[in-house]
Symmetry: C2
DNA sequence: CTGTTAGCGCCTTCAC
DNA sequence: GTGAAGGCGCTAACAG
């Protein structure tokens, strides 16, 4: 055996960096973690050496020593664990998992009961968690995010003073959609909403009401959810109650497809008799019949931003809203 | 101030267990990790104490000491990183993330270039990874799974001697589908396949050929992929080449929807002139028009099994195939 | 501002 | 079979 190099190079450690930079491990650590109690020359030297050596901090060791964890928890609020099965959740976790890969942190997924404050406590107390991405939070839940999580929690949806939020501008999207419906001559526009407990989806309802009010048109609201079934029953309900309805705005594409199914069942032409618009622009939206008019929802970008913010540990802006673009197809 | 109080009780550690059981930390460790060099009474006492104390080993510390990591990597093979955006991948990661949550391990997601052997090496060498779930593996890739990963890798799709596999029985599902088509009078059945490099989806093609051959019918194969666009062009192609085609079997539901769109475009009635069948039974399959006849694909259960196997570290059976059930709707 | 000294919680050689 | 040490790689208290 010829000496030190056995082919499998041992990973370079902080020790190596420190030695090469001619400082102590502590100083190297301070330089790399961005502590402010380091001299500028020392910091720069250490950083340069680390970069040239291709040093990657060991998240495990760091987490163990600092007491900060090594995993990102995505907690999805909802009335029951079924919310975890959602395609939306899938995209969020996916994006977070892709972001985490680079940093060596994994993502785990957890259901957050709507009034399950104990879970939040537990997440905050768990030494293995590094940060939290909250999905579908309510104001009540946000108020209960433990102090210990402050600065390492981000919410996709509504936020609070302590928890920054990232979301789609669904108010903007809804406004564009309703305006489009009005612009194409619709006057009796119903809306099938999402779950009423979910504040970020209520933004859409408020906008719908506001735009209609501005145009001097009446609002016709039917409560729903995010599933196609909700669209089916919602549209049935709407047409039963207001038979002269000439457009349906759905909270999401799945609901819109359900609504279209209901209308087909009733012998109503789409978009001839009733226009239908969705929200999200899911892949399938383009392939049904008629192809769905909708608005984009860059879930992946949103989740990536959220995960990046948590990982960066940096407190980003308190609120970031991604733009939603109109997608005009056949249904409205 | 409910909720904001993070009463961080010091977590119980191995030390506590050892003391309470009247043994040394080393012995307690051996007892709990299932080492065979412990006396039975010592083992049982330690285990009982651990259970009654509610001891949970710290994954981080364990990973750091043992060199085994704390995250599960889901690596998706494919020609380009776009495979990560797939809804299928979303479900797999989701399920894995839910399983990992209990054990305190997170999952991260990574693209695996089809011939990117270096990535596999890297995963194997990365001390922060605990295990690997391979998605859409090829035989070439499987052969390159590093030795160091043996016993902590599972493949969703095809497997090898070293890497156990979990998958849907798509051969069985395809057989049921083709048999159904034949049973309802179809005789000129085309198939739009998945990506040809993907062995687990080729099983479906082989079955399609075999069942047709048994019935003395000709095979009409068009290469495709997993996207609706592939179904669109695939069906166009098939009907152009074999105008008398009376059924189309698609590799998945998205492709089936694309195929239906193509047929609609051509003025062909579904299922009157041409029957269309998909595979997967995605949520949207029931809501298009006509509603899609398909076969179930319990992705979530499969991914859960895979993640559980990796986490358990136990070498499960070399191959597990989940049953696929026929779902008869309107399109075929 | 820096280096030294202790750990974080666990596994794993070593002696016994 | 068991216990006593010595790390894993890093951060966080201390002194200087």
């Amino acid at each position: 055996m010829a000496g030190t190099d056995d082919g499998r190079r041992a990973p370079i450690t902080l020790e190596d960096v420190a030695r090469a930079a001619g400082v102590s491990r502590a100083t190297a650590s301070r330089a790399l973690t961005g502590s402010d109690v380091v001299s500028t020359p020392a910091r720069e030297r250490a950083r340069a050496v680390a970069a040239s050596l291709g040093y990657t901090p060991d998240r495990l060791a760091r987490a163990l020593a600092a007491g900060t964890g090594s995993r990102l928890v995505v907690a999805v609020a909802g009335p029951d664990p079924a919310v975890l099965d959602d395609a939306y959740t899938g995209q969020v976790v996916n994006a977070a998992a892709a972001v985490g890969d680079g940093a060596g942190v994994g993502v785990s997924l957890q259901w957050l009961p709507l009034y399950g404050l104990a879970e939040l406590e537990r997440i905050g107390a768990d030494r293995s968690v590094h940060g939290l991405v909250l999905v579908n939070a309510t104001h009540g839940l946000l108020a209960r995010v433990p102090r210990s999580l402050r600065g390492r929690a981000v919410s996709i949806g509504v936020g609070s003073r302590d928890v920054p939020a990232v979301d789609i501008d669904n108010a903007g999207g809804a406004a564009a959609l309703v305006t489009h419906l009005i612009g194409t001559g619709r006057r009796r526009i119903a809306m099938v909403t999402g779950p009423r407990w979910l504040p970020c989806s209520e933004r859409m309802v408020e906008t719908y009401r506001a735009v209609l009010a501005d145009a001097g048109l009446p609002a016709r609201v039917v409560s729903g959810g995010f599933a196609a079934e909700d669209g089916l029953s919602g549209a049935r309900h709407a047409l039963h109650r207001w038979p002269d309805t000439d457009a349906v705005l759905a909270v999401c594409d799945a609901v819109a497809l359900g609504a279209i199914a209901a209308l087909r069942e009733l012998g109503v032409q789409v978009p001839g008799d009733v226009a239908v618009a969705g929200f999200d622009d899911v892949p399938m939206a383009a392939w049904g019949f008629p192809a769905l008019t909708t608005a984009t929802h860059p879930v992946r970008a949103i989740a990536t931003a959220a995960a990046t913010a948590v990982l960066g540990g940096g407190a980003g802006p308190p609120q970031t809203w991604y733009r939603s673009e109109l997608v005009l197809r056949a249904s409205a």
